[in-house]
Amino acid sequence: MNYADLFRVTLPETALEVAALLVLVVDLGLLRKAALKVRVVVAALLGVAGCGAALWGISLQTGDGLYVGESLVLANGGGVAVAQIGILILTALTLLLLIDSSFTRHVGEYVAVVLMAATGGLLIASARDLLVIFIGLELLSLGLYILTAFAKSSGKSAEAALKYYLFGGMSAAFLLFGFSYFYGLSGSTNLAKIQEAIATSGPSPLFYIAWILVVAGLGFKVAAVPFHLWAPDTYEGAPTPAAAFIASVSKVASFALLISISESWLRIGERCGPWPQLAGILLVLAAASMIVGNLAALAQVSVRRLLAYSAIAHAGYILLGIAFIPGDVSSSFLVEKAVLFYVLTYGLTTIGAFGVVGVVERATGSDKLDSFLGLHKRNPVLAAVLLVLFLSLAGIPPLVGFWAKFNLFAAVLGAQSGPTPFALVALAIAMSAVSLYYYLQVLKRAYVMPAVDETPIKAHPVTLIVLLAIAAAVVVFGCFPALLQGWIASFYI
């Protein structure tokens, strides 16, 4: 390893960290006396600039990534680059949503923590070594706990953060325990080396135990059933921009990590014949998440909790894709691309959804279904954005959510034939038909039912522009899915 390589490969992470420090210096040093509004704008813009610099850093990357000795520690390019670019763009969007919020006076700290958490996200997307993975994961998770608790005057926020923290601590313990088994079995912390060692020694019960422990730890990060219990409370209690960050950026990063770990294990099958039931645990989580998420969402009256359960359901669809990543490299890319397409577009849509919920919540003081009554009269633009985003989440064409599902399910069926994938895809499609009901419950209040209060709801122009841009992206990528597919595919050459 030489330090010039390390610097080159971690340029995006470095850029984010520098931006985080810069935000702290500017906000706590130069702008101490300035009005809160000015500080929010400056901090958010600095954060966005940091994301921009990190994107530029990604564009400079060449080669496979960073090697220590012969083992790859940080990967570059391909799916990693797609996930990292997604993380940065989504982070920038959640920072822009901050401009309109007033839950905290400590904006400098907020933005700095967001940027550091995003750094953790970038790290876990690219890490190929268990220790680096764990460091990145903790960097991300600790940031998320702090962000959840950031509305200091809100009891709900503190409660949510505590729950999130306790669940998170436990899942980190599971993960670490699993990692230690992997190390014990192979004598290495590097994914490729572990893969090789396991492939030569053959399957052992201990390996399965370690795998289940790791899946439990990561299942918590992506809110898969039965490790999902933190999600509704956290989504409900966290300040809106923080909830949007948890729902999107953290999801993208965690799924990127899950892809890289699953792929290394599933590819063992290529060397010494398929291993029975390795993906089975993922399938169980996927099916459980789809069913529980969609059915529990039917009963929600809080839109944030509804979004949380819908997130659980979507995690189920994505896990289904990951479980069917085939062993051989070239066809695994097909499924991987479909999964990334899904994760990125889901993250984008859900940020928009939280943006709308945030504006409505500020105006009405609640995120209950009934606070959306008559939204089409109170703010037609916001209502139209909500319509587009929720229909996309439900998977109605020609919006991007449809193609995400379609792409993924077609890839799953193409990757493996037989009754299992087919039955699970059928379950997923049937469950997404269920989901239309609860998305329509919100839209029904926005468009159909009479308004109780007709005073217009005002949204900050920046928020409005961000939301419109997201809605426009959802429509454009929905009408021309090939644009996004082509962009993702361009990283795999």
Binding site: P398, V448, M449
Partner: protein
């Protein structure tokens, strides 16, 4: 040229959605202009397409990685159904002339629905067809939920969920077909030649067919139809019965039958006379015909009568499809057109002309109103529409149902016999509502006459008269000279039955 019907409708919908509020007249005329332009294009496409087979209109790659093309084409069946959509759109706008609540939004959803319907009829790519099919779901929901009447939110949600469940079944089947065929084209013609394994077709066909048939009102999945039709505003019931149910039937034909022809083969064993999926669906269709007619016979709400009659008439379409012979399937397609026109006319009379003046649809109350005297135009329009609906010679329904019955006789005579019962009951329920609603023979006393004179109904407006003349005229014209449509339908059906189109 026909492709512009789609673009124009969606552009009109977008324009109306962006239009500033508070200009209802402008919204109306704009929607009317778009609908008329669509009809003009449909007529022009029909006329220029005469004697031609399948013509590709647009073919550009859409999602190259999956081989999905934006492939629009038209054969005789498409052209006839596009023509029907154009007519239904114009009539729908005419009969919604009195919408004052959120006018521009109403017409925006209306045109979006119409655009989706045009799209389905013109798509020759499996997934493009599916996309347009799903686009049509959302506007339907809002049209009923916002502007509807009786239990509108329930009916709208029921309709949306039935449609979405149906399309989920279709999507499962289509994805499975795509994966099984392993081809890199999703064109209907290409997939039709993919020679899917018979065992696969055997289970995929009923899945896809049922998914589409839910929207065609197949018994026992028809329950969305009467509630949906009754709750919907007039124009939406006209569209629901007129074209949306046809989307389902069209999907059954174009995707179900054309893609999985072997799915209709005999199973090799038979159980109580049922030995193939074809028998299963034909029996369901016959049950739908008789059941719909019998239930229509006892309704107390005028609109429910028409709603159940739609279930009955759509049964003929499905029965015609299951005959799988030239005459039966031709009859089914003609019945789609014919029922689209006639159901539209019936819903317009009941939901708009009568209801807007009497504010009731209860037959018991209408009985006391002497409508034949007070609304002679409505009464005679309903007589004509009723005769068409009964399938009297001279109207389009006669030719269509006759062909279906002949086709069914050639397969299994008892299908025809049972469906014939449905026709007889059809005469009975039409007669019953005609008599109850318009020609009840209780003579008004002098006092009542005076009162009625004092509260005279609003005169028939020009949009109403135009709409009735348009729909009635078309039904009559097709009834007297069916060759005009049959010339287009027959070759297309022949090609389709011969295997996946030309």
């Amino acid at each position: 040229m026909l492709a512009w019907t789609i673009y124009l409708s969606f552009a009109g919908a977008l324009l109306l959605a962006l239009l500033p509020k508070g200009r209802p007249a402008l919204a109306r005329w704009l929607a009317f202009a778009v609908a008329v332009a669509g009809l003009a294009l449909a007529v022009a496409g029909f006329v220029t397409g005469m004697g031609q087979g399948r013509v590709v209109i647009v073919d550009v790659p859409w999602v190259p990685s999956m081989g999905i093309h934006f492939l629009l084409a038209a054969d005789g069946i498409s052209r006839v159904l596009v023509l029907l959509t154009g007519l239904a759109a114009v009539a729908g706008v005419l009969f919604s002339w009195n919408i004052e609540l959120r006018t521009h939004e109403f017409f925006a959803f209306f045109l979006a629905l119409i655009g989706g319907v045009y799209g389905v009829f013109l798509s020759f790519d499996l997934f493009l067809l599916f996309v347009f099919y799903e686009i049509a779901i959302v506007p339907k929901y809002f049209l009923i939920a916002i502007w509807g009447s009786t239990r509108r939110e329930y009916a709208a949600m029921k309709l949306a969920l039935f449609s979405f469940a149906g399309s989920a079944m279709v999507l499962i089947g289509l994805l499975a077909a795509y994966a099984t065929a392993g081809s890199h084209s999703t064109g209907l013609i290409a997939l039709g030649h993919a020679n899917l394994p018979v065992s696969f077709q055997m289970w995929c066909f009923p899945l896809v067919f049922t998914g589409f048939a839910i929207l065609a009102g197949m018994w026992p999945f028809h329950t969305w139809a009467p509630t949906g039709h009754v709750a919907a505003p007039t124009a939406a019931s006209m569209l629901l019965a007129g074209v949306v149910m046809k989307l389902g039937a069209y999907g059954c034909l174009r995707v179900g039958i054309a893609l999985f022809p072997r799915g209709l083969d005999p199973w090799g064993f038979s159980f109580v006379g049922i030995g193939s999926w074809r028998d299963v669906f034909a029996v369901l269709a016959v049950v739908g015909i008789v059941y719909g007619a019998l239930v229509a016979l006892v309704q107390t709400d005028f609109k429910f009568v028409i709603g159940y009659s739609s279930v009955s008439h759509m049964g003929f379409v499905l029965l015609g499809l299951m005959t799988l012979n030239q005459i039966g399937v031709t009859g089914a397609v003609l019945q789609m057109f014919s029922h689209g026109i006639i159901a539209g006319l019936l819903f317009a009379i009941v939901g708009r002309i009568v209801y807007e003046r009497t504010h009731t649809r209860q037959l018991a109350e209408l009985e006391t109103m002497h409508l034949s005297k007070r609304l002679p135009f409505a009464a005679w329009a309903f007589v004509i529409a009723g005769m068409a609906s009964m399938g009297l010679p001279g109207f389009s329904g006669f030719v269509a149902e006759l062909q279906v019955l002949v086709g069914a006789w050639m397969v299994k005579p008892w299908w025809t016999a049972a469906a014939g019962v449905g026709i007889v009951v059809g005469v009975a329920y039409t007669w019953r509502v005609l008599q109850k609603a318009f020609f009840s023979d209780t003579l008004p006393s002098a006092h009542v006459l005076e009162q009625e004179h004092a509260h005279a109904f609003a005169p028939i407006t020009w949009p109403e008269a135009t709409g009735v003349v348009l729909l009635g005229g078309v039904s009559l014209a097709v009834g007297l000279y069916p060759k005009i449509l049959l010339d287009a339908i027959e070759p297309a059906v022949k090609a389709l039955l011969a295997g996946g189109g030309q």
